[in-house]
């Protein structure tokens, strides 16, 4: 188990009613973490559903969801950016 700091932005933040979340988890990758959140059901399952456009960052850099996690990492989920 490790503890991951999770952050949500924009439409995803609003849909989940959550800005930040500190989560002890066994998730090995960003994809595992997303699946674990989807497993919570309700708004989580809907907003993070596979097939929806969700992007992820690990320690403040964009990553593919295959990126591995370690204790203390910061993961962010958000919709595609809409720029300046």
């Amino acid at each position: 188990m490790h503890t991951i700091q999770i952050r949500f932005f924009a439409a995803l933040r609003e849909a989940l009613g959550a800005t930040e979340l500190r989560l002890p988890t066994a998730a090995a990758t960003v994809a595992d973490l997303r699946d674990e959140l989807i497993g919570r059901g309700g708004a989580w399952a809907e907003a993070l559903a596979r097939g929806r456009a969700v992007r992820a960052a690990l320690n403040q850099a964009m990553v593919p969801e295959s990126a591995p996690l370690k204790d203390g990492d910061e993961v962010a989920f958000f919709p595609p950016v809409t720029g300046g």
């Binding site: 952050r7 932005f9 850099a61 962010a76 919709p79 595609p80 950016v81 809409t82 720029g83 300046g84």
Partner: protein, 196 residues
Amino acid sequence: MAAQPAALAQVRIQIEDFDLSTEVAALHTADARVGAAVAFVGLVREWTPTLAPSGAALPPEGALASLGRPGAGSVAPTLAPAEALDCLELEHYPGMTERAIEGMVEQARQRFEIFGARVLHRVGRLGLGEQIVLVAVTAAHRGQAFQACEFLMDYLKTQAPFWKKEHGAAGSRWVDARTSDDAALAKWGIAASNAA
């Protein structure tokens, strides 16, 4: 290119407005090599087609299609008040957004012969006509400065972690990423799949 003082490459995310003249002057004052300064300012537009609720009357197809094309600004149709934009709200990811833009400035430095670059981006709620973003670049000659400025703006549009929400009489909604912005980046040889 010789290393320049860090103050010449500057990225700021702020709520406050900015002054174009002040920012451009700061880029070239005390740098006698500069022969060209190019700056782009993005503004909150009067209206936007994405805010119109589904089923609402939209402007003629031709008018919509002309949006985003160079010189299309003069033919923007008049929309019903229900579809008008009141303000734009911008959200960012503190820390990551700055780092991402600094990386873009670094790429611009590697691609073009530029001396200074500055990117200012505002966040929070911005009303009609307000300034959103400034990209300013200095170089010895205008060609490199123009190109670097356009490159940075195209990059910002697709890759910078900002999210826009439109507020208007018809309601509020988050703006969808546009594949046309990804296409703008493709012309620089950078594959983008933000909107895909």
